[in-house]
């Protein structure tokens, strides 16, 4: 555990990092970004908390059951969305034209509308969940193995 100045600054900075990562994930169909990039930003925030506090402290907040459920939910949403349009082909974009996410934009450059994109924003969320849960579990397991010789259960 590092000094009191580092712990206080890390407590304040984690809020901004989480909001920026969620912005990059959620606007993946308008600006450069998407699921993988936003997931990497959030994992770098988790690594900063792991350095400021020791890994024994962080093990009480990030339990393994919650991370496992998050990763499995992300994978199930991805497979469910690609099997939902099975009437035509396997991975059909079945939300184009419907008023949920399927407004077709005008041709050429111009400001974007949030409710466009078909099935792409929902898949961005699923991939972001999967990347965050998987990579933070790997980083936490490596830190626990190196510090206390403690097997993770």
């Amino acid at each position: 555990m590092l000094t009191k100045i580092v712990r206080t600054v890390a407590n304040q900075l984690i809020v901004f990092i989480l909001i920026f990562g969620l912005y990059v994930i959620a606007h993946g169909h308008l600006t450069p970004g998407g699921g993988f990039q936003g997931g990497a930003v959030i994992v770098s925030g988790v690594v900063m908390m792991l350095v400021a506090f020791s890994s024994q402290e962080l093990k009480k907040s990030l339990r393994e059951r919650v991370l496992s459920i998050m990763e499995s939910t992300g994978a199930l949403i991805l497979i469910g969305l690609s099997l939902a349009g099975i009437g035509t082909v396997f991975a059909y974009n079945f939300l184009v034209g419907t008023p949920i996410f399927g407004r077709i934009p005008d041709f050429g450059p111009g400001p974007g509308d949030f409710w466009t994109g078909g099935v792409v924003p929902l898949m961005n969320l699923a991939v972001g969940l999967k990347v965050v849960a998987g990579l933070s579990a790997v980083v936490l397991a490596l830190a626990l193995f190196a510090s206390g010789e403690e097997v993770e259960e």
Binding site: L30, T31, P32, F36, P105, P109, G110, P111, G112, F145
Partner: protein, 118 residues
């Protein structure tokens, strides 16, 4: 607007990165240095893949507030995204195997853990 770049300089930089990592993999014996060489080779291949899809004077292939002019090809950027994620996953697995080899054998030399004993 931009004339031909002499000697194809970005392709030459990617080929030299792959060549330096060949030297590391053939001649070094420490396991951590071998892993660094493999990561450098992955960076060289990603650079080559992105440089293949550049159109002269082009901008990003996104229609939101796009400037005038032609657009860069989008398909090599999608392939590079997949390649980066796969490299991260394989690198994590390689580092875990090196940790187990060090606990079992006691040294990081690749010559000592070559002979297969029971």
């Amino acid at each position: 607007m931009m004339e031909h770049i002499p000697l194809n300089f970005p392709f030459l930089a990617a080929a030299l990165l792959v060549g330096i990592s060949f030297y590391i993999i053939i001649f070094k014996r420490n396991l951590i240095k071998l892993i660094m060489g493999i990561a450098m080779m992955a960076s060289g291949v990603n650079l080559f893949l992105v440089a293949l899809g550049y159109r002269a004077g082009g901008g990003a292939p996104i229609y939101t507030d796009a400037p005038e002019g032609p657009m860069v090809l989008p398909v090599p950027q999608a392939l590079t995204l997949t390649s980066i994620v796969i490299n991260v996953a394989v690198l994590a697995l390689m580092l875990t195997i090196v940790i187990r080899i060090y606990r079992h054998t006691g040294s990081l030399d690749s010559e000592k853990s070559r002979k297969m004993k029971g």
